[in-house]
Symmetry: C2
Subunit: 415 residues, 2 copies
Amino acid sequence: MKAAIVAVGSELLDPLRRETNGAYVTGRLREIGVDVLARTCVADDAAWLEAAFRDALARADVVISTGGLGPTEDDLTRDCAARAVGRSLRRDEGILEWLRARFARFNRVMAPVNEKQADVIEGATVLPNARGTAPGQWLDLEGRLLFLLPGPPGEMQPMFDDQVLPVLRERAGGTVLRSRVLKIASMGESDVEQVVAPLYKTFANPRTTILGGAGQTELHLTAEGSSVEEAEALLEELAAGIRALLPGRIYSEDGRELPEVVAALLRERGLSLALAESCTGGLLASRLTSVPGASEFLDRGYVTYSNQAKVDLLGVDPKLIEAHGAVSEEVARAMAEGARRAAGADLAVAVTGIAGPGGETPGKPVGLVFLALAGALGDRVRRAQFPGDRERVRRQAAQAGLEMIRRAALGLSAG
Amino acid sequence: MKAAIVAVGSELLDPLRRETNGAYVTGRLREIGVDVLARTCVADDAAWLEAAFRDALARADVVISTGGLGPTEDDLTRDCAARAVGRSLRRDEGILEWLRARFARFNRVMAPVNEKQADVIEGATVLPNARGTAPGQWLDLEGRLLFLLPGPPGEMQPMFDDQVLPVLRERAGGTVLRSRVLKIASMGESDVEQVVAPLYKTFANPRTTILGGAGQTELHLTAEGSSVEEAEALLEELAAGIRALLPGRIYSEDGRELPEVVAALLRERGLSLALAESCTGGLLASRLTSVPGASEFLDRGYVTYSNQAKVDLLGVDPKLIEAHGAVSEEVARAMAEGARRAAGADLAVAVTGIAGPGGETPGKPVGLVFLALAGALGDRVRRAQFPGDRERVRRQAAQAGLEMIRRAALGLSAG
């Protein structure tokens, strides 16, 4: 089965807006083996909208529209879909009664304009909306299916999950898709690709996609099976192979991000952590404290942006800074040890580097970052050279600081 | 002139991917008065892609496609567009020569598969690509224009700006659109709406849209004129009216975000700043240090997550915490004054609050935040109750801390 999505509303064509219903519907359809081949955002224009329905129905087995079911003059979905399929609209007495009762419940009288929300295309089945005033509807056009759903995600998603998906799952013949995301923090996209491509390319099912970000590479595996169990088994077979090729590199297969994983490791071990940040300027602390309950393991952090702050707060020897520079292995080590001691914590991580765009010195280019760990999980230091602009360097450095804790907690090499 | 955009590529239909070329093109077209009425992402499927071109050309005066111009079998844009307009492709010798020379420059021999990048629809004008191997092309179909542009934004955007926009601007008859964004940090979307809607609703031109985020409200004004000067004058007329209704509330009209504005104010005044953060956990420091050159005014920050950290690092009296709780006006004041003194800075900002989901106590709900300022810009304190989840509360609190500095620096009330 091939599907097309029509998202209705002039506001969706605003460059600042992001249309999100299409991605939601596409993802859910994939799980039942239905591919979306086209997704269109169309303005509140009767001629364009009618044509969009006609075009989509000319090719797709399933057309799903979102939006344009409200009571105002701009809400044209019902009218245009009816014209596109050559049928008339009828006013549904049941919906009218339900609408009036709903307004009465909020002590309001329904304005006449709302009555058009009770219009149903001849032959359509109504999809009740428990969360708003716009019911959906669907039509079986000799095997081609047309669904009209409301635009607000809070109304569309439950209607899609509870009322649309069961219809489609039955028609799609029971194929199920399952996905898994393997997340890696310590290797770039091309390095991961080089190691795992020879393996995953031998698998037609699951399909594998690589996505790279600042300090993160993700492998998205999607398997198709006749049952959830079969699809999961196919996923596990490939995931096991990838794990063997990337020992210790995958930090999450269950959707968790790196701060959550690190927080769990520290909690399990009952360890307290202190942070000393220069170039990341609080970003590492901010990421860790985004995890609820971070106070269980994080008691304090130092943003030591200037050399004097490193001396005052962390007890770094000024002569060390003079001899090696603030961006050096020696100062990173001294910052970590100083933070651990000053905070009375079990361990500490320090980050010092050149985020750019300025600050470069001979032999120390923008993107050079030293990371150090001191205390209960052993002493480590790492020199990294990150590509990209200021924000990218900072994000990669913070991620590397988190990964350093994870690897030490699991007894893995510094990486 | 009405436009349609066709974004080509199966990967664009991945729920995890975001299609960005459409928004870019829509925004640029608006500036010259061309409205986009439909935007379609279509898979690398010959039948669907050909139909997408045919459908778009049936309605739009201008059709702009991005992507699908590469050398692989999946790159179908040239073939499908040619079929949709009923013309044949010819292999362009000039492009072939240019491609061979480009490969030679990188010491590579061009594979035969690349030759298809030299295919041009009969009658089309070639759009050279200085940044990649895929040239664009465009066709005038009796007044309807079809542009085929490459997919990578780094190639598409300069080609669009330098080679497509001038053609369209001339055809659009000289209408220009100009936009301005007024940014506000200290009022929510509905409060801003209530104050300014009675004014902006009296203006048909400029049009005004309100967008709200965590700790930020934006008013987007777009004016249409026969010249840049006329459009700018219309923008300024409405902007002046809004400024009068929101005295001191608008922190930026030039695209800058709040950290940049605050950084500039501190630099101009030669003031040094220290930070003491509890619930924001480094987020305020991280946002300020995202501004290049932040070291000129920020020397250090304290993430004092625990009560003991507040006592040790900021010299807060433990009795004060015992008497009022860590989330209190008194402790916020003591944190700011302590940070200022400990850092030897001209001023300091402190944030203490309950980000949630846990940590609530009687009379102190999740979202309660105290902010304090101490030192050179005067002493201030503010109690705020922010809605939303942990991340939303943290983001609003960090934004409020920045706004507190801005208002004090400009001599505005605490707000």
